[in-house]
Amino acid sequence: MDAWVLVTFPSVRDVYVDSVRFGKTNTAFSVQLGTHTIDLNVPNDYQPPQIVVLVDGTPVTPTVVAFLPI
């Protein structure tokens, strides 16, 4: 079962889901439906360090996960 997530950050950065590199920031992509740990590639100039979230979005209304620059 797929679910869609949109990870936002001011710049384009690789996104890791459960430590596996998936997509890029600011572009929605699909992951397995469920609870995941999401974070970004280095440098660690963002907060929070990681976000645990239930990803259950659709392609049209993805689950939005927001990281902010430090």
Binding site: M1, D2, W4, Y16, V17, D18, S19, V20, R21, F22, G23, K24, A28, F29, S30, V31, Q32, L33, G34, T35, H36, T37, V52, L54, D56, T58, P59, V60
Partner: protein
């Protein structure tokens, strides 16, 4: 008198020797599990290679019939030219197999197309079942089976497969061979009977039991994968707890919350807990067909999930066996999954033709066959639904880059020619040698079924492979959201 004593001493010595017979123990992993060691997805060159076109084969169970049919499919793929000057066979990335199909997959992983001739002569055309009977009951093995509690019928089978086909090759040999010709990852599947779980013979699966798959004979995997209940005993694996695999990967903790959102995730976490349970000092393996008789579940899991028993690393970037991320970010642009199902179907009414109580053979056949057939149906249905959903989601997301999903199901019931269908359906589920009619029928079935499949034809057209079949009609409906 002396002669009697000598005879008694000889018998005593023979019994002692037989008593001490032991199944080959799978060795302990002498280091902490890491993704750069052992036969697994991450140690092949596949994750770092061009994955734009990704090909997966799954080989079902069905004795020599399955081994022959899957062999026919490999040979057919070796006749198809791809745009890069290679054969389609060269582009196969993963083969997941069960039971009879595991003979073909493992032998191919070890020898490539160079092993085609010998596979035919050393296995398909040999009466392995007769040799198995001889090895178990008409050789010194009979004393081992009688007097040793640690040597079982499955160990006789494993020794025989080593002698006639695999020549003591180990998973280390399979791993060494892989980069030489960009061989596919071979996943032989068996079933852990107490957990009721599918067991993949790769280091990803061996990590939680702290065992080193590299030192295991591939014949052991094939024997376990084809250990049909009743005829063969379960294969025993030893478990160890000393390698430092003390906590599950991070996803497993989070997945506990997904009981309603996605129940397959906590189920896999429970399965992992089972393998890590210190009370489980051994595992017992039976035929992979009990959990999945077409070998589709391992690649399906890799398609839909990144949850594996191996904790991913970022530098270097390694994971357990998954391609879910490569599909999501479109590093894989086209994925072809060919399900090679050697299951037989018969419309002949036997049990229901009379009011008589069915014989024990009929009842056992129903008890074992019905659940397996239902799981097979569910697996295929799940593959088709997953591919259609993915196509629909890409369209809904208005993605510029899209991955195209091609499912190809090769099943005897789809053979249109009555005579050919009857021929292949009539081949028994055993390890007897294939006669000319059976062998040629299976080769022809592989060709016909591939040629008539509309999704395979579409894949050929889209990738510029030749020759494109003129037989296939209709469109590949799975591609249409």
């Amino acid at each position: 008198m002396n002669r009697t004593y000598r005879l008694l001493a000889a018998v005593f010595a023979a019994v002692c020797f037989a008593c001490s017979a032991h199944y080959p123990i799978n060795p302990e992993l002498k280091q902490a599990p890491n993704l750069e060691y052992g036969y697994r997805w991450a140690t092949t060159d596949i994750p770092d290679s061009d994955k734009s076109t990704f090909v997966i084969l799954t080989f079902s169970g069905g004795g020599t019939r399955a081994a022959g049919f899957s062999y026919g499919v490999l040979k057919k793929l070796d006749t198809i030219d791809t745009k890069d000057g290679k054969k389609l066979l060269d582009h196969v990335n993963v083969i997941s197999s069960v039971s009879g199909g595991s003979f073909t997959s493992m032998y191919y992983g070890l020898h490539g197309r160079g092993g085609f001739k010998t596979f035919e002569s050393d296995f398909l055309r040999k009466d392995i079942q007769g040799q198995l009977f001889h090895s178990a009951f008409l050789s010194p093995n009979v004393f081992k089976l009688l007097f040793s509690p640690n040597f079982h019928r499955i160990d006789v089978a494993s020794e025989l497969y080593d002698a006639v086909l695999f020549k003591d090759k180990k998973f280390k040999d399979l791993l060494d061979e892989q980069p030489k010709w960009h061989a596919p990852l071979i996943i032989a599947n068996s079933t852990e009977i107490e957990l009721g779980a599918r067991f993949e013979w790769t280091q990803d699966q061996f990590d939680p039991i702290c065992s080193d798959i590299n030192q295991v004979h591939v014949a052991r995997a094939v024997a376990a994968s084809s250990a049909f209940p009743g005829l063969l005993s379960p294969m025993v694996l030893d478990t160890y707890r000393s390698c430092g695999y003390t906590k599950p990967p991070t996803w497993a903790g989070l997945a506990r919350a997904d009981v309603y959102a996605n129940p397959s995730r906590p189920r896999l976490a429970d399965e992992l807990d089972g393998y890590m349970d210190k009370a489980r000092t051994h595992l017992h393996m039976l035929d992979g067909g009990l959990a999945d008789n077409i070998g589709l579940r391992a690649p399906m899991h890799a398609i839909i999930s990144t949850d594996t028993f191996a904790e991913p690393t970022r530098n270097p970037p390694h994971t357990g066996f998954t391609i879910n991320n490569f599909l999501s970010n479109h590093e894989i642009r086209r994925i072809l999954v060919i399900v090679v199902n050697s299951g037989t179907s018969s419309s002949k009414v036997v049990i229901d033709a009379t009011a008589a109580e069915p014989g024990i053979k009929g009842v056992i056949g129903a008890v074992t066959g019905t659940p397996m057939d239902n799981v097979t149906f569910d697996s295929v249905e799940s593959l088709l639904a997953t591919f259609r959903n993915k196509a629909a989601e890409q369209q809904a997301a208005k993605e510029a880059n899209r991955t195209v999903y091609y499912p190809v199901i090769l099943s005897f019931s789809l053979i249109k020619d009555d005579t050919l269908r009857a021929t292949v359906n009539g081949i028994g589920t055993n390890f007897s040698n294939l006669n000319d009619q059976s062998f040629n029928g299976l080769m022809q079935a592989a060709q016909v079924l591939i040629d008539q499949d509309p999704c395979f034809k579409q894949f050929m057209i889209d990738t510029g492979a030749t020759p494109v079949s003129t037989v296939a009609t209709g469109k590949c409906v799975a591609l249409t959201p």
